[in-house]
């Protein structure tokens, strides 16, 4: 047990070091590719965090862009509105490596915290509503949040916020921060599925009434899922704001929510690796299809329909790809998956 924890910690430290190296290498590739890579990472965070709500807990939330927006606006407000007032504090000095790092961490935590609060508020109706009704309420929350930002003069109303300081003064570190958070959310989801508490999440997904009868506190499970999922969406929003250095309400419209939901379903509801792969695919594919010009979105949408019709369970279904799955192909993976 201790050995496993140690190995996991070592793996985490190793991947962070690797990320740092890759981030440094980003100076040598084109800005366009860096931006595609970072966007992929942001959508990985969003898809995996929505997978926590939709895939693992079996709720039906399609308004993830709302939490993404809350995180982005709160994170950006910290860097843009609050920070200049206290910028003289030695540890928070803008432009120095230490100050920038601490500021980014504070912005991410604030964004995540605010989104978690919003997730708590949305989680409460989920106690009474089910299925499609919950879906439309979450979609509605997303739209309401967008309209509120659209009318709030303090955050620039329809113009949005611009001139947000980018991550650690230059774009070098954006890959590190984005993929660092992505690794964190993936590890959290994975450990959750493997833990006893995670089993109660899966039980709620499979049959809520039965789970309730077996003594699972379904209320708590559902609210926890919403809070965790939206916190990571908020972190993603904060990262996006500091990467793009400009945000406006129309970035977080219904289409963004729908794309995130599509990633989760396409990857296979409940499959973490599926969500990661689908997020990268759906972000990179439209970029790759750019040579088709006007026809690209038509091809994209028809391909989406065909994918859904030919493979309704998504790319991976409930299964995961891991090193173990290559070694022992017969083993059914936790998460209700069928043996391959």
């Amino acid at each position: 047990m201790l050995r496993g924890t140690f190995v996991r910690f070592l793996g985490f430290a190793f991947s962070l070091a690797l990320l740092l190296l890759v981030s440094k290498g980003a100076a040598y590739i084109k800005d366009y590719y860096v931006s595609v890579i970072v966007t992929c990472g942001i959508y990985v965070i969003l898809a995996v965090s929505l997978n926590l709500i939709n895939g693992i807990t079996g709720q039906f939330s399609i308004g993830h862009a709302g939490f993404y927006a809350v995180g982005a606006y709160v994170g950006a407000s910290w860097s843009l509105l609050a920070l200049p007032r206290i910028a003289d504090t030695p540890l928070l000095k803008i432009g120095t490596p230490v100050g920038d790092t601490i500021n980014v961490i504070i912005a991410i935590i604030l964004g995540a915290g605010a989104a978690a609060l919003a997730g708590f508020v949305v989680g409460i109706p989920s106690l009474r509503l089910r299925g499609d009704y919950l879906a439309i309420v979450t979609l509605g929350f997303g739209e309401v949040i967008r309209v509120i930002f659209l009318n709030m003069d303090a955050v620039g109303a329809a113009r949005g916020l611009t001139g947000i300081p980018s991550i650690v003064s230059n774009h070098d570190m954006s890959i590190f921060w984005v993929y660092g958070v992505a690794i964190l959310v993936i590890m959290l989801s994975k450990n959750l599925i493997g833990s006893v508490r995670g089993l109660s999440f899966l039980a709620v997904r499979e049959d809520e009434i039965a789970a309730d009868a077996m003594g699972v506190n379904t209320t708590r499970v559902k609210v926890t899922a919403f809070v965790l999922g939206s916190a990571f969406a908020g972190a993603a929003g904060s990262l996006y704001a500091h990467f793009a250095t400009g945000i406006s309400p129309d970035v977080f419209d219904m289409n963004t929510s729908i794309i995130i939901t599509t990633m989760v379903v396409l990857g296979g509801t409940g499959s973490i690796t599926g969500s990661v792969l689908a997020a990268i695919m759906l972000t990179a594919l439209p970029e790759w299809l750019r040579f088709l010009q006007d026809y690209r979105m038509v091809i994209f949408s028809t391909t989406l329909i065909v994918m859904m019709l030919t493979r309704p369970q998504g790319i991976f279904g409930h299964r995961e790809i891991s090193f173990a799955s290559f070694k022992r192909r017969k083993r059914a993976v936790i998460g209700g998956g069928e043996a391959p």
């Binding site: 499609d132 509605g140 091809i299 994209f300 949408s301 028809t302 329909i305 019709l309 309704p312 279904g317």
Partner: protein, 368 residues
């Protein structure tokens, strides 16, 4: 007081339009338990059909630009309305046949070939226009290859994992159809704003200070007539009875010998034709400009109206639409008019917190 009544009238007129679109959502939800996201885009297609019918297709189109035509313009409007309804009905049935039926019954050869050609169409236009030798050849070759490849690939995948269809899945398919319609709309109709102008000469009637616009009044009347027709079909015809039976219990309806596929197709045709009528009327009678994304907001609000009244409940959809229209008109007339797009959702959230199945919906306890 006068202002309040005035806003109420605006609200009811707007609400009747929402109700018209919401009926299509609620009927489909009733029979299939599916959120048909593409419905708002059917409404958009209806508006475009109305536009082209009035400006270029119909033989007596020059009347549309002639301010003195008077009575004949009404004939033109009726013909365009019927045309929009018919084309949208066909579109609705096509969507049901090729996108939603495979979700229920599995993809068969015909569907596979259809989707093969559907993907081939945009790709082949890379090689040249469809009716040129090169483009046409590319279309046929790519379509045949994709269409015939899809079946064996799918059979291979299905061998490994049994076909299971979930609600989330159906939702994503519907979103895919909606995206496909919007983007092909952008290609076919162009992204510029289309505008018919006033087909029937506009006038404002004044009743003691309360203004009623003739165009909006016509929309209201036609909506009421169409809703009455729908009520007749649903309550007093065999097809309507079958629809109600399916929405009650689809498995039992099958056992009673109802051809469910046919009835579901008919339901889509009915709903789509109502949306088409709404789209045509908005394009022809109001000053709203038509764009390929013009169905998005009304579609979403109409859907919210359907859920508000109780999804699957036909009187509920009308009630929800009216509530939605009136509340939006009041917010639009107040100092907080910029929040008018949010009021729909706030109302929905409040209502669902009190009545989780909508205002008129029955809250069915889940049996274990």
């Amino acid at each position: 007081m006068q202002a309040l009544v005035q806003q109420l009238i605006y609200g009811i007129q707007l609400g009747s339009l929402y109700a018209l679109i919401a009926l299509g959502y609620t009927m489909v939800y009733g029979v299939l338990k599916l959120i048909n996201f593409a419905h708002g885009d059917v409404y958009m297609v209806g508006a475009y059909v109305g536009f082209y019918a009035c400006t270029s297709w119909l033989p007596f189109k020059e009347l549309a630009t002639n301010p003195n035509a008077g009575g004949t313009n009404i004939l033109l409007a009726i013909v365009a309305l019927l045309l929009s309804m018919a084309i949208c009905a066909v579109l609705g049935m096509t969507i049901e046949r090729f996108a939603y039926r495979p979700l229920r019954n599995g993809l068969n050869e015909v569907d596979a070939i259809f989707w093969g050609f559907a993907i081939a169409l945009p790709i082949s236009s890379k090689f040249g226009p469809l009716f040129s030798v090169k483009g046409g050849l590319a279309f046929i070759v790519i379509g045949v290859i994709l269409g015939f490849l899809m079946r064996p690939v799918m059979a291979y995948m299905r061998k490994r994992i049994k076909l299971s269809s979930s609600r989330l899945n159906a939702l994503i398919t519907a979103i895919g159809v909606s995206l496909a319609l919007e983007n092909s709309g952008l290609l076919v109709f162009g992204s510029d704003q289309k505008f018919i102008g006033n087909l029937i000469p506009e006038s404002n009637w004044n009743f003691g200070g309360i203004q009623i616009n003739s165009g909006q009044f016509i929309i209201f009347c036609v909506s009421i007539i169409l809703m009455a027709a729908l009520r007749f079909i649903v309550l007093y015809t065999r097809r309507g009875k079958a629809m109600r039976a399916i929405s009650h219990d689809i498995e039992a309806a099958k056992l009673m010998g109802i051809d469910t596929d046919k009835v579901i197709s008919f339901t889509f045709a009915l709903g789509a034709s109502l949306a088409g009528a709404g789209g045509m009327m908005v394009a022809a009678m109001t000053h709203v400009k038509v764009t390929p994304l013009f169905g998005l907001q009304p579609g979403l609000k109409a859907f919210v109206a359907a859920v508000l009244g109780g999804a699957g409940n036909i009187p509920g959809a009308v009630l929800g639409g009216i509530i939605m229209g009136v509340s939006e008109a009041y917010v639009a007339g107040s100092p907080y008019s910029t929040y008018k797009d949010a009021i729909a959702f706030c109302l929905l959230i409040i209502v669902l917190l009190v009545r989780p199945a909508g205002i008129l919906g029955k809250n069915v306890a889940e049996k274990v």
